[in-house]
Symmetry: C2
Subunit: 87 residues, 2 copies
């Protein structure tokens, strides 16, 4: 149980980092409205992939994977929409 808690914590820290990392990009892109250097293919593929990670997390019942990918999905989707809007 103690090991389990450490591993869950590790996953939560990992998920927090990869999730919040999309926040500065979303803010930067929203403010600058400049998306020239951002790859449409990256955020298209990434958004679909993160959604599938979310489903995977539900299947294996991993709280860190579920939480992280739910929030990451929203942020990546926002960046994708901004890219589609500003080109």
């Amino acid at each position: 149980m103690k090991d389990m808690d450490f591993v869950t914590l590790l996953g939560l820290v990992a998920g927090t980092l990869t999730t919040i990392s999309f926040l500065p990009q979303a803010i930067k892109t929203y403010k600058s409205r400049s998306t020239k250097d951002i790859s449409l293919e990256m955020f298209g593929l990434f958004t679909v992939g993160v959604f599938l990670w979310l489903v995977y997390g539900l299947y294996i019942n991993s709280l860190p994977i579920i939480l992280a990918n739910a929030v990451t999905f929203v942020l990546a989707f926002i960046i994708l929409v901004l890219k589609l809007k500003h080109g």
Copy 2:
């Protein structure tokens, strides 16, 4: 066992998508040498986070998480280095 295989396959597809998504961004950034619209905070936090996901995958013994994050780490690190180089 059949369910297990489906879930592992789902994770592998998810991991393949989120992992290969970084390839077009890495290629685009390498070719254009233009990183103005890319957030340094995003790729800094993301690279550290993906490394921790890799360790998490080793702990919970999840092949999709291990494979996906090993490759994603390399690609995100390349983009981070290009961002640091070109500003």
